[in-house]
């Protein structure tokens, strides 16, 4: 804990100053009408710029392009990105998070060379979910069968963010068709330009097409691009996943904090059916206050979890708890904001680029919050995890 709190104000000031001078002006408005290609390219440039300034991954080891600093600095950067209303490179989330951490922890020297590409703006995606394996992720069917020095991959992945723009994919596939459930899975780095890889964007309920399906048709992945041991893919994929989720939450909490201020500001202007500004409604003010309170609570939760991570402790169920708390809070916050906007807030945005979970188009944000309650382990799955792994309650008879 002490590490986080004692970080010098000087670092914060340096970050703050640099962002004030270098953040792209008017980027939010500009992105609203941009194509997805333009969005990806914008974030790639911004990633490079941040990295050149040492503000992308100072917490990474120097040999991978970082500065051997602590996670504390990363927290400061996230906070200052928020405070200065600078962009955060959304399209790079998997690359900078799960992909880099996995490569550092499990990658061969050759695989680790891909990290340089990440710092240069390579987009990565995940190939986890399949149409028949949503909540029941361990029942994946995509196969990767060894043949000589390659694995031949066949199957279909879905709900892969920015797959249409990704250079590489973290792929989970079944190398042993006989082994039960997650025992037969292996983990791969898949070059998205390999023959047999086809990407089809999924248009979402919000109109955006951030996600995609990936069709795999006799794709040949060299054995050298397997991550970790054969059959050990599930564990390899999970090792760094929960820490990366917690780190990601630091950014999301800051987004929510901004959103609360935006809501309070808009409430001075938006009017209720009675003609008064929403800010004059006690019910609304106290609803927003409860959101603000929960943002503080969530911030304390992530802060403590980060402290434990820094101290080298295991997260345990913290990832599930944080995800549940966050997704419920995001859904509630965006709902309150969307209701304030009334019919005016139900304007059709067409096919907007995805600008994050608190973009200020509150109805779309609210609808998008279901990606949090559904994806990456639905709320129901998280409650199962807490009930069974933390509280030690008996598993359901059927799943034993």
């Amino acid at each position: 804990m002490a590490v986080v709190r004692d970080t010098t104000d000087a670092y914060r000031e340096r970050v703050h100053g640099w962002l004030l001078s270098n953040r792209p002006e008017g980027w939010r408005e500009q992105l609203k009408t941009a194509s997805q290609d333009e969005v990806v390219s914008f974030y790639r440039d911004w990633t490079r710029k941040l990295h050149a300034a040492g503000l992308l991954v100072p917490h990474w080891p120097a040999r991978f392009g970082g500065e051997d600093r602590g996670l504390a600095e990363q927290v400061i950067i996230q906070q200052e990105l928020s405070r200065t209303q600078s962009p955060r490179p959304r399209t790079m989330a998997i690359a900078l998070g799960h992909a880099a951490a996995t490569l550092m922890n499990h990658g061969s020297p050759a695989q680790q060379r891909l990290i340089a590409g990440i710092l240069d703006g390579d987009v990565w995606c995940q190939g986890f979910s399949e149409p028949q394996a949503g909540s029941d992720l361990a029942s994946l069917r995509t196969s990767a069968l060894p043949r000589g020095d390659v694995y031949v991959v066949n199957g279909q992945k879905t709900w892969s963010s920015f797959a249409a723009h990704a250079a590489f994919c973290l792929l989970l596939a079944r190398t042993d068709l006989g082994a039960p459930k997650h025992k037969g899975l292996s983990f791969f780095v898949m070059d998205m330009s390999l023959p047999g890889v086809t990407v089809r964007p999924i248009r979402q309920a919000t109109g955006s097409s951030e996600f995609a399906e990936i069709f795999l048709d006799d794709v040949e992945i060299p054995v050298a691009w397997r991550l970790g041991q054969e059959g050990d893919g599930w564990r390899t994929a999970q090792t760094t996943l929960s820490s990366e989720r917690v780190i990601q939450l630091v950014e999301l909490v800051e987004g929510l904090r901004e959103a609360v201020c935006t809501m309070a500001g808009e409430a001075q202007v938006q009017r209720t059916h009675g003609g008064q500004p929403w800010a004059q409604s006690e019910r609304f003010r106290t609803d927003v206050a409860r959101i603000a309170i929960d943002v503080e609570v969530l911030s304390a939760m992530t802060h403590r979890a980060m402290g434990n991570l820094i101290a080298g402790e295991s997260l345990g169920a913290a990832a599930s708890t944080l995800k549940l708390f966050f997704s419920e809070l995001l859904q509630r916050a965006t709902q309150i904001a969307a209701r304030m906007s009334g019919l005016g807030g139900l304007h059709d945005p067409g096919e907007p680029p995805d600008l994050g979970y608190t973009s200020g188009d509150w109805f779309s944000d609210h609808l998008r919050s279901w990606t949090w309650t559904i994806a990456a382990g639905s709320d129901e799955i998280q409650r199962n995890i807490i009930g069974e792994r933390v509280l030690g309650l008996p598993r359901e008879v059927a799943s034993q």
Binding site: S135, S139, T272, H273, G275, L346, H347, D348
Partner: protein
């Protein structure tokens, strides 16, 4: 006139019959890309079956039934996400015209609304008490009538309306007014307001010193406010009936999916997490159904008890629909979040229904005002 149980059953099955045959959910999706967003042929078929004349008294050539039958149609349209001006024309505008002490001019419009050859719409003030909002148009006395200026935001299907019923503030000392505007005869400007719910079209109508002849005045002063009061309640009821139908359909979709989708070797509906969610949604649905049903049976916009029931039923159904639609997305998981799946279309119609006509909060606040102005211990 109230239908017998038998007649009502026949009516319901004729509604189901027409809509099953001609208004699939998929069809509605296709209509979103057409100019006016609804099926003209279906509209004429509905009119031929008398649906557009349900609220028109028998003595004016109508069917002369009441809210109970209107509910059946609105619910069925909501169930199938059918686009079109039934609610705005056949319920809200027709209801308001019947309420007004109608001149001969107005009566001739009612004939055409009743047989579906004309379409009308109703522009309710966003702020329910007339005279407060600067958005609301102003009427100035002019020789032989009025000069109307200002804009009327968020009018349903104004682009196809032949007649627009507008509430206006009188300039200076003049009292509040309600006009029935012949859209072809009155100069105006119209901007579309595309909604997330693509089954609904909405426009903002602007006037600039547009001349309105005196005979198109429906009401003035207290009568205008009374017309507004009843129109507001009827609008709440109509949106609620649509919401009830939509909630029923999206809940049924979620139940069906939970029965067939297998995860962990079992249909997901066998897990209590899903089963109990669907049960809670069912309670929300059935309670909306009973409340809207009772309000429709009472068919009374005047007595305090009936008004309280109507507001409660409408508030409850309008609030339940977004909850049920949101939970339905959750039950469906990823597939429910795709553009191709219909769940989001219900979710969006649910939100629009709740926000229409100044939003459901007005109903809750009216109940609160009544409760807390009552003498202590009453």
């Amino acid at each position: 006139m109230s239908l017998s149980l038998e007649e009502r059953r026949t009516f319901r099955s004729s509604v189901d019959g027409l809509l099953s045959a001609r208004a699939s959910i998929a069809e509605g999706r296709h209509l979103a890309s057409t100019e006016h967003g609804f099926d003209d042929g279906l509209w004429r078929a509905m009119a031929e079956l008398g649906w557009t004349a349900l609220l028109l008294p028998v003595e004016l050539g109508g069917v002369g039934t009441g809210m109970a039958e209107v509910r059946v149609v609105l619910e069925s349209l909501g169930e199938r996400l059918v686009p079109g001006p039934f609610m705005s024309s056949a319920v809200l505008a027709t209801g308001a015209l019947v309420d007004a002490e109608a001149s001969a001019d107005v009566t001739s419009w009612l004939d055409r609304l009743g047989d579906g050859s004309a379409i009308a719409t109703l522009a309710l003030p966003l702020i329910p008490t007339l005279g407060d909002s600067c958005l609301w148009p102003e009427a100035r006395l002019a020789p032989g009538g009025w000069a109307l200026s200002g804009s009327v935001p968020e009018v349903l299907h104004a682009d196809v309306a032949d007649l627009i019923i507008v509430f206006a503030r009188g300039a200076g000392d003049e009292d509040d007014l309600v006009f029935a505007l012949d859209r072809k005869a009155i100069p105006h400007h119209m901007d579309s307001f595309p909604l997330v719910d693509q089954t609904r079209r909405m426009q903002t109508v602007r006037f600039a010193e547009s001349f309105v002849p005196e005979q198109m005045t429906l009401a003035r002063g207290a009568a205008a406010r009374e017309l507004l009061r009843r129109a507001d309640l009827r609008a709440a009821f109509a949106c609620a009936a649509d919401s009830l139908g939509g909630a029923r359909a999206v809940h049924a979709m979620a139940v069906a999916y939970a029965q067939e989708r297998v995860q962990f070797g079992r249909p997901i509906g066998s897990f209590q997490a899903i089963k109990h969610k669907l049960a809670s949604m069912y309670v929300d649905l059935v309670s909306s159904d009973d409340a809207v049903y009772e309000a429709a049976e009472q068919d009374d916009l005047d007595s305090p008890g009936a008004i309280r029931l109507l507001r409660s039923a409408a508030y409850h159904a309008l609030e339940a629909y977004p909850r049920i639609a949101g939970d339905a997305i959750q039950v469906h998981g990823g597939i429910g979040f795709t553009w191709e799946h219909d769940a989001h279309r219900y979710f969006k119609r649910a939100w629009v229904n709740r926000a229409l006509f100044a939003g459901s909060e007005r109903l809750r606040d009216a109940v609160a005002a009544e409760l807390f102005s009552a003498p202590v211990g009453a």
